[in-house]
């Protein structure tokens, strides 16, 4: 049974892909059938993923010796490019996380999208996304990963722009694609350099080649490759400075935000580094960059999240922040902590997004949290789930976030105190803004015109399941030995470091108390605080004006030069061509002047020519005569 799943691991991405084809080609118009097909395919993938986990456990497949199946995709110009499935505990974990969230989101979407005429299309895209993401997870080489990496990018584009009639959605989709493309450019360069240097991009082959290469040539060139590869995750996982697309991506339907822009796709960057950790772990410079950039992003995004007002935007910045955490963990050398947080984050962030979806739908597309209030009376289940999510992300025991965040903090503290400090401040801010969200939206008085009602069952049950996972996954992972399962090198024995854990609990509690005092008790006016902070508040509220800066830079380097190039093309490059044409025409006019119809002039010219010929031949005749002495 398990072996069947293992050997057929390639079916996991293929089933949703088939679902995409079937829905896209045949049942697009039929909402119900489309939904059933999508959910069935996802469910089957989920079951297979569980089977893969079982197989990994049963066959004792460990990180060092994964199970690999591959086939040749194309052979060209001396390269052999493969496709296949690589299964190790990391893969198995990712498969389960992705399929679980995908399945929940699929079910949720049945309720969420029931009035949308594009529901068939929606399920098609969701299935395509699942296929791409799962294909990415089981990649055997960088190229396959890049292929599916772009695939998830495409789905993200399609789904952010799902409401294509909205200009904001259209622009957000475009922005997401282009921003991640910039990252992909770096990643593609890295892959090219790997291919050129090693002649292969296969993970398992590289794993054997890289140490030898380092032994012979040192790490300097590999560091360049590593940094280039890291640009990809910067784009995809929303790290500074390519994070700008992620908040805008919330223009998509909320289930999409939950699935793609919180739980799965955005962690692809983290997963990439995890998958290629055998390269990165050898490159201390790159690890340092990753750690610092991750920590900075975590802090940076948290400071923005504190002042945002739309529900999903807060969650988006929190996602950026949490992704920064994962990067930080990778940077400080703890694959385990990073992947652990990836898993728990996937559950609780998906949970919160789905809650956000329920709330926003209940509020008739009103996203500003300050226009909500008292929702806990109207939507008790959603409220409870959201609370679990907030507690989880704030890192309070026994919720999932506590264990994973603690692991990251511990790992950071081992390496560098400044990093640890940054991470702790971020944890404080996180707890603060998440509680702010919770308190503002769900506590207080019910507004008079509040239309909110509890949502339907399709939307409720996934919340409950995810909430349950958000509670147990941390503790379960911790006690069941996640660290013995997913690790790089020698797995570290991890007990909870109660100094660090305790301080972070205290910080979170203080932050939540503060938020309670401000937003529920109204002990301090939030407006007063904002005014006090002045410029800082403005910067935070406008996300440090990064969008504006980018727009300016783009206008300068793309549009202005583009117009210049067009001018050059029309007036100089083309001008030369047309000038040559005009030159020929002018020459023709000049040369046509003698042709004035005066026949006698033609005759005169003709005879002038004859005279010239005669003179010429005479000249030579005389010459010959002088040589031959007068006789022919």
């Amino acid at each position: 049974m398990f072996d069947f799943a293992l050997v057929h691991a390639w079916l996991i991405p293929l089933l949703p892909a088939l679902a995409f084809l079937v829905i896209g080609l045949f049942t697009r118009q039929d909402k119900k059938t489309s939904a059933i097909i999508g959910i069935t395919a996802n469910g089957a993938s989920f079951l297979l993923s569980l089977g893969v986990v079982g197989a990994v456990l049963a066959n004792r497949i460990v990180m060092a010796e994964p199970f690999v199946m591959k086939t040749v995709w194309a052979r060209i110009g001396g390269m052999e490019l493969g496709m296949g499935a690589l299964v190790d505990p990391l893969t198995a974990m990712m498969l389960v996380v992705v399929t679980t969230v995908a399945l929940m989101v699929n079910i949720y979407s049945v309720g969420y999208m029931e009035h949308d005429p594009g529901m068939g299309r929606f399920f098609a895209f969701l299935s395509l996304f699942a296929a791409s993401m799962l294909g990415l997870v089981i990649s055997v080489n960088f190229l396959q990963m890049y292929v599916f990496w772009e695939g998830v990018g495409l789905c993200s584009y399609l789904l952010i722009g799902f409401y294509y009639y909205k200009v904001s959605a259209r622009e957000a989709a475009k922005k997401a694609f282009i921003t991640t493309r910039i990252g992909d450019f770096g990643m593609l360069l890295g892959i090219l350099l790997l291919q050129i240097t090693f002649g292969t991009v296969d993970f398992m082959e590289l794993k054997t080649l890289v140490p030898d290469y380092i032994w012979v040539s040192g790490t300097s060139f590999l560091t360049v490759i590593g940094l280039l590869l890291f640009i990809g995750p910067i784009g995809k996982s929303g790290q500074f400075p390519l994070h700008v697309w992620l908040p805008d991506a919330m223009e998509g339907p909320t289930p999409v935000s939950a699935l793609i822009h919180a739980a799965t796709m955005v962690v692809a960057g983290v997963y990439l580094i995890g998958r290629a950790y055998f390269i990165f772990a050898e490159l201390p410079v790159v690890l340092n960059v990753i750690a610092w950039l991750g920590a900075f992003t975590a802090f940076f995004a948290a400071t923005i999240a504190v002042t945002q007002r739309p529900f999903k935007r807060i969650l988006a910045y929190s996602t950026i922040s949490q992704l920064g955490y994962m990067m930080l963990a990778l940077g400080v050398g703890s694959l385990t902590a990073s992947m652990f947080h990836l898993m728990t984050h996937a559950f609780f962030k998906a949970l919160m997004f789905l809650c956000a979806g329920a709330v926003i739908e209940a509020m008739h597309e009103e996203a500003d949290i300050f226009k909500m209030g008292g929702l806990r009376y109207r939507m008790p289940v959603t409220f409870k789930c959201m609370t679990i999510g907030v507690l989880a992300i704030a890192g309070l025991p026994p919720f999932a976030g506590f264990f994973s965040k603690d692991a990251i903090l511990a790992a950071a503290a081992e390496v560098s105190f400044p990093l640890y400090l940054l991470a702790s401040v971020t944890a404080f801010l996180t707890a603060f803004y998440m509680s702010r969200l919770l308190f503002v939206a769900f506590f207080g008085e019910v507004k008079d015109d509040c239309p909110a009602q509890e949502t339907n069952a399709f939307m409720r049950w996934p919340l409950v399941v995810l909430a349950a996972l958000s509670v147990v996954s941390g503790a379960w992972g911790h006690f069941a030995g996640f660290g013995e399962w997913v690790f790089y090198g020698v797995h570290e024995e991890e007990a909870i470091n109660w100094t660090i854990a305790g301080s972070s609990i205290v910080l979170s509690v203080v932050a939540m108390w503060l938020a309670y005092q401000i937003y529920v008790e109204k002990r301090w006016s939030s407006f007063q605080i904002a005014r006090r902070l002045g410029v800082l508040y403005d910067l935070s509220f406008h996300a440090y004006y990064i969008d504006e800066i980018y727009a300016f830079v783009r206008e300068l380097t793309v549009d202005k030069i583009g117009r210049l190039a067009l001018w050059v093309d029309n007036h100089i490059v083309d001008g030369i061509v047309h000038g040559l044409g005009r030159l020929a025409k002018g020459l023709a006019v000049v040369l046509a002047l003698p042709q004035n119809g005066d026949t006698q002039q033609y005759v005169a010219i003709f005879y002038t020519g004859v005279i010239a010929l005669v003179a010429y031949s005479l000249f030579y005749a005389v010459k010959i005569l002088s040589v031959t002495g007068g006789a022919f």
């Binding site: 046509a592 042709q595 004035n596 119809g597 005066d598 006698q600 005759v603 005879y607």
Partner: protein, 114 residues
């Protein structure tokens, strides 16, 4: 330089060169006319002069060069035939142009230009 007597000697012993010079002069006169006359008929006449000059050459060559037969004269006869057709068509053309345009002066007929 040759003396006057020698020149006279040369000049009075008529040979091929005399004929060639004569035809060249005749041709040049025809050419001069061809370039200066306005009327179409005088132009035709000048062309006839030039053709005659050519014929003289042919006949003179036939007479003075060591050739076994009358090929030169035969060529001259062909030339005459061509000249005859030319003058016939030329005159017809001149007549036609006169009928159509009311003039036979070439400076008034300048349609042939680029």
């Amino acid at each position: 330089m040759m003396s006057f007597m020698e020149f006279m000697q040369l000049a009075t012993h008529v040979g091929l060169h005399h004929f060639l010079l004569f035809s060249a002069i005749l041709f040049a006169i025809g050419l001069f006319g061809l370039l200066t006359k306005k009327g179409l008929i005088p132009l035709l006449m000048c062309v006839e002069l030039m053709l005659n000059a050519v014929n003289i050459n042919l006949v003179a060559f036939n007479h003075y060069m060591p050739v076994p037969d009358y090929t030169g004269q035969l060529m001259a006869i062909f030339s005459v035939a061509v000249a005859a057709s030319e003058i016939a068509v030329g005159v017809a053309l001149a007549f036609r142009i006169y009928r159509d345009r009311g003039t036979v002066n070439v400076d008034e007929l300048k349609e042939l230009k680029g």
